[in-house]
């Protein structure tokens, strides 16, 4: 169980990126964090990952406070961030350095097969397409079998077709080990395709604005009426979150109204 207890983050320049975020994520749950730009969703993810430490409150995973990157937590960034000097397979095995060679080989081969890149195992990252590179990055994050996998707008740099493809792919992989997923996105469709629960955030300071449970049966049909209905609900919540930010926070009005146009 991943628990966030009144997590807050104030930057040295006084900007309050996060304020009093409390939430619990069940093992195997898929939580999607959505919100306008600058609402602190990436900051939140980085606090959970241990890459940044919150200035208030704490993040606790299975009873241990997370203050630094943890072996049970994996992260996938917006860019693949593959190490250009390692071949695809070596990138996938990057987190397995401590394991015996034979085990490493089996697990890397398995992971590459799961992401459909067995034939690209010995290719350099620069020879991979954007979608392939992000699949290698997903394999790299999953291969150490994390309990929690964090995704920071992982598909936002890809074209629409590749994006839909990778969303399905991610769910497919998730079904293997059922790690807890926390995904940050600004794509409402993406949120509804993957989420069990959608958390809408609001900026200035970054707070939870609304939680929406998303219990459509899987696999989810992007064309169905139920999908459309869920989408409208999330969009409405987002609209409200941005409006309230404008009303309650006169000083930031200009920045927030600009953000209202983000989709």
């Amino acid at each position: 169980m991943l628990v966030l207890d009144r997590v807050g983050k104030t930057y040295p320049n006084g900007v309050r990126a996060l304020d009093g975020i409390s939430l619990a994520v069940k093992p195997g749950e898929i939580l999607v964090v959505i919100g306008g730009s600058g609402c602190g969703k990436s900051t939140l993810l980085r606090a959970v990952s241990g890459l940044d430490t919150p200035t208030q409150g704490k993040v606790v995973l299975d009873g241990t406070a997370i203050t630094a990157p943890h072996e049970k937590i994996g992260i996938i960034f917006q860019e693949p961030r593959l190490l250009p000097w390692l071949r695809a397979a070596e990138n996938v095995g990057f987190g397995l350095e401590q394991r015996p060679r034979a085990e490493r080989r089996v697990r890397v081969a398995g992971a590459l097969e799961r992401v459909g890149l067995t034939d690209k195992a010995w290719v350099w990252p620069r020879e991979l397409s954007g979608g392939q590179a992000q699949r290698v990055a997903i394999a790299r994050a999953l291969v150490p079998r994390p309990e929690v996998l964090l995704l920071d707008e992982p598909f936002s740099a890809l074209d629409a077709f590749t994006r839909a493809d990778l969303q399905d792919h991610l769910l497919h992989l998730w079904a293997d080990l059922k790690p807890t997923l926390i995904m940050v996105t600004h794509d409402v469709d993406e949120a509804i395709v993957v989420a069990d629960r959608i958390m809408v955030m609001r900026a200035h300071p970054g707070r939870i604005f609304e939680e929406i449970t998303c219990d459509l049966p899987r696999p989810r049909d992007r064309q169905s009426a139920a999908f459309d209905f869920a989408k409208r609900r999330v969009l409405a919540a987002l609209d409200r979150s941005l409006e309230r930010a404008i009303i309650t926070d006169d000083r930031e009005t200009k920045a927030a109204s600009g953000a209202a146009l983000w989709w």
Partner: protein, 272 residues
């Protein structure tokens, strides 16, 4: 008729490919080889006596003469030893200081201004001081070469460490790499391309400075051969020494490139 029309473009493409492969390097050879042949002929038919600008055949003979007496080998070895020793010290110091100056902002502020100020001094200016301090024998020469090698390596390493992609470092952090593992698995490979470039630049300067050092008093070395040729009026010996410098410089540079190639294969952008 139709057959010729169909074949012609393919044939032209093939011949153009062949032309590109052989003619382009040959094009670069045209000027030097042409000049050499021209000069050889000019001297042979008596247009010039070739005393001050010896023709290629005389230079080649001089080479053979110097090699047969063993002079060429001993002078070459003396120069190679100086460059190698100076290069090793210069690279070692440049790498250490470059890494320190690139690693943290504090050490950068501490040492970089001093080193940049020293860099502004033409290194040859140190020669009189080095001779006073270290004598006129090997030590002062090697130190001068080391100073020459130091700066490009220092700048290269510092720049490379400073410009390591923060996002890639973060990947290392996310996988909980400790300080040493971070250096070995992330920083070292990341700075490798720039490091190799700086080594090659450093080596080039090393060859320049060995010449300066040998000009300023030496009884061995290719630089001595140059001065000796000037004082005894033997232009062929001078040109032979220059050619030897060229060959050695190119060969050592090629050795570094060759040794580094396995580490840089990921970066090799041009497909063969």
């Amino acid at each position: 008729m139709t057959a010729t029309v169909e074949e012609a473009p393919a044939e032209r493409d093939a011949s153009r490919g062949r032309l590109a492969r052989f003619a382009r390097p040959a094009l670069g050879l045209l000027l030097p080889v042409g000049l050499a042949v021209f000069w050889e002929i000019a001297v042979r038919i008596g247009l010039s006596n070739g005393r001050l600008v010896p023709p290629p055949s005389v230079i080649f003979d001089t080479f053979v003469d110097l090699a047969s007496t063993g002079e060429l080998q001993s002078h070459t070895l003396a120069t190679l030893f100086r460059v190698a020793a100076g290069f090793v010290f210069g690279v070692a110091a440049g790498t250490v200081f470059g890494a320190i100056a690139g690693y943290s902002a504090l050490t950068h502020r501490l040492i970089d201004p001093t080193l940049q100020a020293l860099r502004a001094i033409p290194s040859i200016a140190w020669v009189p001081l080095f001779i006073l301090w270290f004598g006129i024998f090997e030590a002062s020469k090697i130190i001068l070469i080391a100073v020459g090698v130091f700066f490009p390596v220092y700048l290269g390493v510092m720049g490379a460490v400073l410009s390591v992609d923060r996002k890639i470092v973060e990947v290392g952090r996310a996988f909980r790499l400790s300080g040493f593992a971070m250096v070995r698995r992330i920083l070292l490979p990341a700075v490798m391309p720039a490091y190799v470039l700086s080594l090659r630049a450093g080596l080039g300067l090393g060859w320049m400075f060995v010449l300066a050092a040998e000009f300023l008093g030496a009884s061995t070395g290719l630089g001595f051969l140059l001065i000796d040729g000037q004082q005894l009026g033997k232009p062929a010996q001078i040109v032979a020494a220059i050619v030897a410098f060229g060959i050695l410089g190119k060969a050592t540079d090629w050795l570094i490139a060759l040794a580094a190639a396995p580490f840089l294969r990921w970066q090799d952008v041009v497909e063969r």
